[in-house]
Amino acid sequence: MSDHHEEAGSTTSPYAARIRAIEALLLEKGVLTEPEVQDRISYMESRSPANGAKLVARAWVDNEYRERLLSDGKAAASELGMDPTHPAEFIVVENTPVVHNLIVCTLCSCYPRAILGRPPDWYKSFNYRSRAVREPRAVLREFGFEPPEGVEVVVHDSTADVRYMVLPMRPEGTENLSEDDLADLVTRDSLVGVSVPRYAG
């Protein structure tokens, strides 16, 4: 099957050439300026999954912060010095002993970029986008995660103006870890919900 998002990664693909041509035209016509393009690239590169890990680790050690993160994601991110400025809303959904959340954007590649930066390539693939809603449990198995018996799988399709992030459960045996060490356990994949943080002890 064809997938233009995957092709776009190659600098020799016709899609990359098309984007360069469009960018050149926008610059020539004065719709965009070079500094604006550079600012946007810097903005994206300054965001990373480490931001999400920080939010999660704080929520694990501070229950009041956890409640604020779940009720107003943008304000809670600002509280930790992040700049969630983006037209889209930012909602954090919580995994519990009975609910496992999974995030997808079937229509394109909506992702909480203002917090986490660019999504991984697989998140944009036609394969993930179509199967995450159709057979989420099979997708989770392929990522090496089998939800325990009795856990409901809840999929969030980011179809419009909200960007979603998962607040995973704190792994057992981590009572004595510092907030920084806890943050190290939080992977990008666990923030999307295709896996969960693990602690070997």
Binding site: E89, L107, V133, R134, P136, R137, V155, H156, T159, A160
Partner: protein
């Protein structure tokens, strides 16, 4: 806002050309309003350089996976949420 949390709704089975944010697999499917997300510029107009105003109410709508896919492989409790604009929803059972 026309709908409130808990209301049963159906996604319109409409075909509309161009940029729409209602995925095909939800068209004609029934679910419930989980929450009201607020009002946002209409993406179907925003995409073509218009203002998108007046802003449209956006709802978080829940669906049981078993209602979406005949052969869904998983417990009947599994759910899916999507964010759907008001003009793509009608009360379940037809327009009141």
């Amino acid at each position: 806002m026309t709908f409130e949390p808990g209301d049963r709704v159906r996604v319109l089975p409409a075909e509309k050309p161009g940029h729409v944010r209602t995925p095909g697999y939800l068209k004609g499917k029934s679910g419930w309003v989980e929450s009201v997300l607020g009002e946002f510029p209409n993406p179907e107009e925003l995409a073509y350089g218009f203002s998108g105003r007046p802003e449209r109410p956006l709802y978080k709508v829940g669906f049981m996976q078993a209602d979406l896919w005949d052969d869904y492989d998983g417990p009947v409790e599994d759910r899916l949420y999507a964010d759907v604009y008001e003009h793509w929803l009608e009360p379940e059972g037809g327009t009141a």
